[in-house]
């Protein structure tokens, strides 16, 4: 065995020598150009694709969608492998380093069409974070994303309608389904869960306690989570640790909340729009605002926040280092001017107030804490280019201004927040409309967010009275267990975070829209809703499907009719699928593998 191997390797070496000799002869004999034209042509190779996704423990549905896609790609002749990564690692690789072919995850909450501007505009393609992680560039899409900023009402509706058609055609990403947000709660102490969107921080503010808040006895609201990231890091700008930011937004107040068509003044008491040459707003803060550490919150904190989100180095590093989250909304603001302690002027350029007001929903950060984080990140001697301390520090003891303040955190176990007594909600007579909506403010003294290994465990703990509620979106698989227990109530609402498949348009062959369209046709969305979501969700054709931005009306477009699944009941029709690929110029070798140049 070893001898023959030795023989072979000697033979190979001899052959190699011969080959190089031949090449040398070839060079002298003037065949250079021919040799070069052969050597410089990459030989066709079979295509392999890596699909990155979180593990089932973190997001079962995402894992299932990724597996479905991998199996169907394999069936057609595209070698697909699953790369399962914990969320922090996944987002670090995909969003910060752009290392991926395809990934499956939930999108961050989409509340306004303008949220897509950062997701898809080519100007953001080079930035790290949720801003265009797909490296997608399309001039027409760019144009629409810019026009919707200035278009009014009906006109904007038309622009968004066209944009939706473009997205459906180009498939920069493929939205699969909107999951239902399922939550189980005990109904014996706290009420009023469904008042706001499940993942809105206002859900926790709006809760009421039976018999009112008891100022004597200490009450704790205990909520489960299966995502330990909130106990590891509380930096609202650390994109790999953040999901829907429910708890960080309870810590960091915005100027105003937009909830259910209503605008709730929060840190801001009033704002006044002026629209001469360009849109501007004069924002007046509430009197005597304070941070959790007692430092007064002033207009200069507001100005600082908007400048900081645009460049977290504040000019300290040569290149700008924008925040990887909240980027879109912060770019709406062109200039900030502090008028006095309580007043700031924000100018927005050519943007309608309807869009401009989105900038007022960003969390305001304390200048006295974050100004120290503008330097280049430096971990034990390793300094990363183009990353500021602000983006990587864990913010272990956050100082915010929200209705809850940080109390304690035990890594991978629990996060404890405490009622912030100096909050405007907790004044003797909170101003309207806050008093109307939230009465005496937060109805508990303490919020415990407890990490549990699974939703099944959470239901057990809930049934035993060790918890008051589960996280906002638990798996549909525990729904029967919830139904069996009279003490538990089931809440079902639509989540704002659709499951999607993201393609790296910066790499071949995903730069080809035809290829993305074909991959999209290997996803049986309705089958996935039935199978992976157990029917608790809706297949969607685009990110605004089912909202009133949908061109046909407020209904669902459903699984993309223009790009129907190439098969039936989740099973791909291999012959038909290969024909579809061939039609677009893709070829298969004799083993049935798709080859690329």
């Amino acid at each position: 065995m070893t001898e023959t191997e030795g023989e072979q390797s000697r033979l190979t070496r001899r052959q190699l020598l011969g080959a190089s000799a031949a090449l040398a002869v070839g060079t002298t004999s003037g065949c250079v150009s021919q040799a070069r034209s052969i050597l410089n042509r990459s030989s066709p190779s079979t295509l392999s694709v890596e699909i990155k996704t979180p593990p089932a423990d973190a997001d079962r549905t995402a894992t299932l969608i990724a597996r479905h896609l991998a199996e169907n790609l394999d069936a057609v002749g595209i070698d697909a492998t699953l790369e399962i990564l914990p969320p922090v690692e996944l987002y670090r690789e995909v969003l910060l380093n752009g290392e991926f072919d395809v990934f499956v995850s939930q999108l961050p909450p989409i509340e306004d069409p303008d949220d897509l501007r950062t997701t898809l505009h080519s100007v953001f393609a080079e930035e790290a974070g949720w801003q265009n992680p797909y490296s997608f560039t399309d001039l027409t899409v760019d144009e629409h994303l810019e026009t919707q900023l200035t278009a009014r009402r009906l006109e904007r509706r038309g622009v968004i309608g066209d944009l939706i058609d473009l997205i459906k055609r180009e498939q920069p990403l493929t939205t699969v389904a909107y999951p239902d947000a399922i939550r189980a709660v005990r109904s014996d102490e706290f009420r009023g869960w469904p008042a706001y969107a499940p993942r809105s921080p206002l859900t926790y503010v709006a809760l009421t306690r039976d018999g009112g808040r008891d100022p004597e006895a200490e009450t704790t609201l205990q909520v489960s989570t299966t995502d330990p990231r909130v106990t590891q890091n509380l930096n609202p700008l650390a994109v790999e640790y953040r999901g829907s930011q429910t708890f960080t937004r309870l810590l960091y107040d915005p100027l105003m909340y937009r909830a259910g068509g209503e605008r709730l003044p929060w840190l801001a008491e009033t704002w006044q729009w002026t629209q001469a040459e360009e849109t501007a707003a004069e924002v007046r803060l509430r009197p005597e605002l304070a941070w959790h550490d007692g430092v007064p919150l002033t207009a200069s904190d507001v100005a600082f926040t908007y400048e900081f989100l645009q460049d977290t180095s504040l000019g300290e590093i040569e290149t700008t280092v924008p925040s990887p989250i909240y980027r879109g909304r912060s770019t709406l603001i062109e200039d900030v001017r502090v008028v006095d302690e309580r007043t700031v002027d924000l100018s927005f350029g050519d943007v309608t107030p309807r869009v401009a007001e989105l900038a007022l929903t960003l969390p305001i950060l304390p200048e006295h804490v974050w100004r120290e984080q503008t330097g280049e990140a430096n971990v034990s001697g390793i300094s990363a280019n183009n990353v500021t301390e602000a983006l990587v520090w864990s913010n272990a003891e956050p100082v915010g201004s929200g209705p809850l303040r940080f109390e304690r955190s035990v890594t991978d176990e629990a996060l404890y927040l405490r009622r912030f007594e100096d909050h405007v909600l907790h004044e003797e007579e909170p101003p309207d409309p806050l008093r109307e909506r939230f009465g005496d403010g937060v109805a508990f003294d303490r919020l415990e967010i407890r990490v549990v290994p699974s939703d099944e465990t959470a239901i057990e703990l809930l049934a035993a009275g060790d918890l008051d509620a589960t996280r906002a979106t638990i798996t549909h698989r525990v729904v029967p267990d919830i139904g069996q227990n009279a003490a538990l109530s089931l809440l079902v609402d639509r989540a704002k975070t659709p499951y999607h498949v993201g393609y790296n348009a910066g790499t071949e062959p995903f730069s080809n829209p035809h290829f993305r369209r074909l991959v999209a046709r290997l996803l049986d969305k309705q089958y996935l809703v039935d199978d992976a979501l157990g029917g608790y969700g809706t297949a969607v054709a685009h990110p605004f499907d089912g909202t009133d931005w949908n061109p046909p009306g407020s209904g669902f477009d459903g699984p993309n009719r223009e790009l129907p699944f190439l098969g039936e009941n989740g099973e791909v029709d291999v012959a038909a699928a290969r024909d579809a690929f061939r039609e677009r110029g893709f070829e298969f070798d004799e083993d049935g593998n798709l080859v690329v140049q």
Partner: protein, 305 residues
Amino acid sequence: MTLTALLVRISLVVVLMILVGGVGVIGVGRIRSFRPHALRRLRLVAPYLLLLALVLVGNSLLRDVGPELSWIIGWRITGWITGIEGTFVATLQHYAHPALTAYFSYIYIYGYSFLLAFPVVAYFLLPDDRPIRETAIAYSINYAVGVVCYVLFIAYGPRNVMPDMVDQLLYTNWPESHLLTSEVNANVNVFPSLHTSLSATVAVLAYRTREQYPYWLPIATVLAGSVAVSTMYLGIHWAIDVLGGVALAAISVAGAVWLTSPDRRGTPLDRAGRRLRAVVDRPLAYLLALADDRSQEADERTGSD
């Protein structure tokens, strides 16, 4: 049920099982005749138990930083494993039955704990001290090598990769047990299966002590086999993890046998071991002598009454 309550329940059940095993396998006579030798034996064995305790502490410390470290330096082998064994675990789960699920769930938690704890007690009572030394060393090697593997190899188990085909039977059947397993282990620590390696270690050691404890060999074999199957049946481990576990067991037992072999007496390694022992022995001897005096005093007092 909280984690503490679960731990208390497991401890109670395991203690009960050990008591029953003690009567059935060890025999009341042997337990009685052991009593006068208890302290001397403890003194002899304590350094080995101390070694095991140190390894366990190191293991749990490393496991905390392990996953983080793994993602930087480790090999990602989930794809490699699925490429080789495909859907073997899913096929195994085709035979799932509520009775089997209950059996394997209890085996995975209670059976395993008992399997590991019982030999420590049983071998402690043997006049021959080699089995207990072998056991302590073999366990230590298992945990030490295991934790290094966990840093070097990152892989998710079947339930995390193919949740449509592999059900996490343990946690759907017995959700609280997840509190315990998630406390003990990160979900990327699957290769090799320490459940399998430690169980197999116990089974091989049971074979080596079959003359002293003839009943223990069949019990340990059945339990160890069940534990290995349970890790796959419950969707926690891949077949390759189990094979890796068996290999680790072989290495651990071989290492323990080699280290405790009487042939090694006088070799440099043996002398180094003795010197290390001496460091622990002196304070230990003092402590035990103190305890011995007390018990003698007590004996005298009861005698004078």
